[in-house]
Amino acid sequence: MEPSKALFRRVAVRNGAAATFSFDGTAIRATIGDSVLAALLQDGALVRRLEFGGEPRAGFCLMGACQDCWVWSAAGGRIRACTTPVSDGMVLFAEPQLPAAAHD
């Protein structure tokens, strides 16, 4: 069996509306009610890149304590992925964005 590229596997159905958001320019499909982290990790194995050296990270405590799952909005704001629900049309990045990039 080809190993899954995603870390997470959904085992309980979520009955919610579909949502699409963008992460580093890639469209990610999710369900309203998913946390940003759960949506990202059902698609891949990356949530952010470490500020010191760029190593991949994918969260750790999943309960809002370790802050290891911050992702970044186009406006430069940070979002704690494990406790933030997805919303349709979100634009997120694995690394902080310069505010100017938002106007590109």
Partner: protein, 454 residues
């Protein structure tokens, strides 16, 4: 009217709110979570088709009862979910809710802030796919997701077998359940564990169920490394026979028991004392949960005891609040509650030796291992700072010089391991290494929000 504020809507906070309401007060219940129950009794969102009866197993009735009681209570109290208490200033709590700052004044404050996993670092533990054991359960209860398909459980905790069984029941393959404490130590702890035979039996039953299902269960292991490029590929360890073994897996849950979330108690003026059994600094409380005049601590945020102890200690703290407000309390029932809390917490003391914090393994970690995940500080950097002439021998000084523990998690993750590295480096016991002080904001917030005049 007297303003009683409870922080934390887990079993302790809910039980306390219930009693205070019954005695004519209208408490405010503040919770960072979006839904009540805390971490252990976390309530899934309504849209998630998750069979909580099956997941909670023997605790399903208690779980359902707590949520039923919360639902009956919520209309009559000031319940504020999704609200972070980020600072405490005299009798004022500073709150953040949906990005907006506000304050609330209190006469009596009950903190029931719960616990998080205590983890021991090892090479590769920052790779994607490594999560805390509690996190693995949250992924399931909160999101209906498994952290991986083939999961290894590593650490030393009775919760390893509980979580592994939940994962197995939900369709995960268990690569291995590896416990760092030898079986002999577990046998030696049996007398203390008999303080709560039901809980002991439940733990053994989970383990038995895993064994019958063919799960590989190892005791007395020495973790070597987590391997992988960009994500977890294997767990490598030395088993109790001294053989190196490699277990292919795509996720790892790490758990060495729980540690209280004490940052708010610290800001509220609680005193701390070192507990040599848990090897943690714990807030000083009396038999009812009083930490100082007007401040009460309950649940796992005060002492690790589990959900039953949390609920009983929440009730006990509510009795203390009522007594301190001049209401007569039934002496016999509070005494019984206090005994129950004492007994359940004594059981946890037994667990602390049956599932020991691997201080020697941590003290001998290679220099190259990342200690502080936030600031990317290695074990070797801490040792090098300490080895300098007049180098620091106390954790807050080490933090100032190396930035270990200074990052976004405020030392929640690296703190216990840092304490062992510093104690070993200075040739001291854990107490002399000192305690990382809590600082406001207890979690990172936007500067603009803090400056917002509520």
């Amino acid at each position: 009217m007297t303003e009683v504020v409870i922080v934390g809507a887990g079993p302790a906070g809910i039980a306390a709110a219930e009693l205070l309401l019954a005695k004519g007060l209208k408490p405010t219940l503040i919770d960072e979570g979006a839904r009540p129950g805390g971490q252990g009794y976390r309530r899934p969102a309504d849209d998630l088709a998750l069979d909580m009866n099956r997941l909670m197993g023997s605790e399903a009735k208690k779980y359902a009862s707590l949520h039923r009681r919360f639902d009956a209570l919520v209309a009559h109290i000031d319940y504020r979910p999704g609200t972070l208490v980020w600072a405490i200033d005299g009798n004022t709590l500073h709150l953040l809710r949906e990005g907006r700052a506000e304050t609330i004044a209190f006469d009596k404050l009950l903190i029931a802030s719960g616990a998080m996993d205590r983890v021991a670092p090892l090479p590769g533990w920052a790779l994607p796919g490594v999560f805390t054991l509690g996190g693995a359960q949250v992924a399931l209860k909160d999101q209906g997701c498994l952290i991986g398909n083939r999961v290894a459980f590593l650490g030393s905790s009775p919760l390893l077998s509980l979580a592994a069984k939940q994962y197995r029941d939900m369709g995960a393959e268990i690569a291995v359940l590896a416990d760092t404490t030898p079986l002999m130590a577990k046998a030696a702890a049996l007398p203390a564990l008999l303080a709560a035979p039901r809980t002991l039996f439940r733990g053994l039953w989970y383990m038995g169920a895993l064994l019958r299902a063919g799960t590989r269960l190892l005791h007395g292991v020495a973790p070597i490394a987590i391997e992988g490029t960009n994500r977890v590929e294997a767990l490598v360890l030395r088993d109790s026979q001294g053989c190196e073994r490699r277990f292919a897996c795509d996720a790892i849950a790490l758990g060495y028991g729980l540690k209280p979330e004490t940052q708010l108690a610290d800001l509220a003026g609680a005193q701390f004392a070192y507990d040599a059994d848990f090897r943690l600094f714990l807030p000083v409380i009396d038999g009812m949960g009083r930490a100082r005049p007007g401040l009460y601590l309950a649940g796992d945020g005060a002492r690790i005891g589990g959900a039953d102890a949390a609920e009983a200690s929440g009730l006990l703290a509510a009795h203390a609040i009522l007594a301190d407000l001049g209401q007569m309390q039934d002496v016999a029932s509070t005494r019984n509650l206090a005994r129950r809390v004492q007994r359940l917490r004594q059981f946890q003391r037994g667990l602390a030796s049956a599932f020991a914090w691997p201080k020697a393994q941590i003290a001998s970690l290679p220099d190259t291992v990342t200690l502080c995940r936030c600031e990317n500080v290695s074990v070797g950097e801490v040792r090098a700072a300490m080895a300098r002439e007049l180098g620091p021998t106390e954790v807050n000084r080490v933090k100032a010089m190396t930035r270990c523990g200074m990052g976004r998690c405020q030392g929640r993750v690296c703190g216990p391991a840092l304490q062992e590295i510093v104690a070993a480096g200075a040739g001291n016991d854990g107490a002399a290494a000192g305690r990382l002080r809590g600082q406001a904001p207890v979690k990172p917030i936007a500067l603009a929000a803090a400056g917002d005049p509520a």
